[in-house]
């Protein structure tokens, strides 16, 4: 059996099936979330934002955990393989995208519900830091050099982020408790949720996770093709031009 890279494609029967299931899930989520499920007693229609916001945030954190674990797997001599590096990179790219979605939907929801786009809550602030950190991570991946150089540099950076994020979270929390009034984030959490609303959240998490796996598989294979192009692109182009000259 040939690998996807050998056939110059990123899709397989599995990813096609996964894609169909993901799209069907998104359609179902849109129908249930936007039309069928009721409005919230306290939050009104704005609760529907949650069906994209919560899964988005969950996915973003999942993506960065996958990036950190893959980076550790690359640095560990016994499991060193560029595949781990590509998975880490693909996962971070998808993670940054979903982090942006969850930050934007979150601040829109906050404006409607709390009357403010932003609050200096530790969870919010940490999320923003995570976003910036991984934007930096992606920039480092694009620095150039050999594949191994890129892999090692970015793997160390991803593990440093694992050190950084809890420290940021802890210090922001400390800053908040000593210097600010109680955060608004805790308000309204004691409401009991309607069964269908809870189902929508649950469905959202599953659908987004499937979408994540789908995107990362394709992206990882695309990165592999990109690496192969970098390795052989110039030689192949030279050979082609020479062949033309000899005709």
């Amino acid at each position: 059996m040939t690998t996807t890279a050998e056939r110059n494609v990123t899709g397989t029967a599995f990813t096609r099936g996964l894609g169909v299931v993901t799209i069907a899930g998104i359609v179902l989520l849109v129908i249930l979330g936007l039309f069928v499920s009721p409005a919230d007693v306290n939050q009104g229609e704005s609760v529907r934002i949650m069906y994209a916001h919560v899964p988005g945030a969950w996915l973003a954190y999942l993506a960065f955990i996958v990036t950190a674990v893959s980076s550790a797997a690359y640095l560990w001599p016994r499991t060193r393989s560029l595949t781990w590096d590509r998975i880490a990179g693909a996962s971070a790219e998808v993670g940054v995208l979903f982090m942006a979605i969850s930050l934007i939907t979150g601040s829109l929801w906050g404006r409607i519900t709390w009357g403010t786009y932003w609050t200096w809550d530790a969870r919010l602030t940490t999320t923003a830091f995570l976003f910036v950190t991984y934007v930096g991570y992606l920039a480092v991946r694009g620095l150039g050099g050999s594949h191994q150089q890129r892999a090692k540099r970015s793997a160390v950076l991803a593990l440093l982020a694992v050190l950084e994020i809890p420290l940021v979270h802890f210090s922001v929390e400390l800053w908040n408790t000593l210097h600010q009034e109680a955060s608004v984030a805790g308000r309204g959490t004691d409401v009991t949720m309607d069964g269908l609303m809870l189902f929508c959240l649950f469905l959202g998490v599953i659908v987004f996770t499937l979408m994540y796996v789908w995107l990362v598989l394709h992206r990882q294979r695309a990165l592999h093709l990109q690496d192969m192009l970098d390795d052989t692109g110039l030689d192949a182009a030279l050979a082609a031009r020479r062949a033309e000259a000899n005709v």
């Binding site: 640095l75 830091f129 910036v132 950190t133 934007v135 930096g136 920039a139 480092v140 620095l143 150039g144 050099g145 050999s146 191994q148 150089q149 090692k152 540099r153 160390v156 950076l157 593990l159 440093l160 050190l163 950084e164 420290l167 940021v168 802890f170 210090s171 922001v172 400390l174 800053w175 000593l178 210097h179």
Partner: protein, 238 residues
């Protein structure tokens, strides 16, 4: 050689590498005078600009501690860039690697040199805050401030050396370094600013309230120093 002798020898070689790196970087600064002739004037003009932007004595007095550390962070970025510009020029870093010097020693030496330069910078900025922003400093507050400066600059130096090494030699590092370093040093900004507020007695905060923030700064400095000493080798490897 038995095991304890070997670890003693490797410790000695790490330390001697650190000392020569430190001496080299300070000598370069003494001859080049980039810190004194370029970075310090920049930091001072930033302090003056803050006063233009905020336009009120009362506000300036209130935010003086934060401004001191913001100006420090901005200037730190230049010092880090300078610290690794001298290493990547003329392939100096490659030659350094061929000597087989322990990477942990290189890391510690460069971090110490960075820390000493940062300390000098912080001292000047605190004097500037006292002069320009009417910050008030008691003896008791002074002790807290010196300890804060030591803890904060060692954390900044460790992070700076680590990320400076990471982006050394890469194209576009001038713009990348701030993006990488600033989010990481946010805890230092928070901790050092709160401790300095106590030392200055801003808003009537007692000096004693500043000491717990030193814990945060110390944890930060230790974590990144240890990580840096371990990870620096793999950043220089290839």
């Amino acid at each position: 050689m038995n095991d304890s002798n070997r670890s003693l020898a490797s410790f000695a070689s790490t330390w001697s590498t650190a000392r020569s790196m430190l001496g080299k970087d300070l000598l370069i600064e003494r001859r080049g005078r980039v810190l004194t002739n370029q970075v310090l004037p920049f930091a001072l003009i930033v302090m003056v600009m803050f006063a233009f932007a905020l336009d009120s004595d009362a506000v300036l007095e209130r935010v003086a501690p934060g401004l001191v550390w913001l100006a420090t962070l901005f200037s730190t970025l230049f010092i880090i860039a300078r610290s690794f510009a001298v290493e990547t020029a003329d392939g100096a870093l490659d030659q350094l690697r061929t000597t087989g010097a322990p990477p942990a020693g290189i890391f510690l030496g460069k971090a110490l040199a960075l820390m000493i330069q940062l300390l000098a910078l912080v001292v000047v900025l605190i004097v500037a805050a006292v002069v320009l922003y009417r910050a008030d400093l008691s003896w008791e507050g002074g002790v807290l401030l010196v300890t804060t400066a030591l803890a904060a600059t060692s954390g900044l130096a460790a992070v700076g050396t680590l990320y400076g090494g990471l982006s050394a030699g890469a194209k576009g590092r001038e713009t990348l370094l701030p993006l990488l370093v600033l989010p990481v040093v946010a805890p230092v900004l928070i901790g050092a600013t709160r401790a300095t507020e106590s030392a200055f007695g801003t808003n009537g905060i007692a000096v004693g309230e500043g000491w717990p923030w030193l814990g945060l700064l110390a944890v930060f400095a230790v974590m990144f120093s240890v990580t840096g000493a371990i990870a620096f080798g793999s950043l220089l490897d290839d």
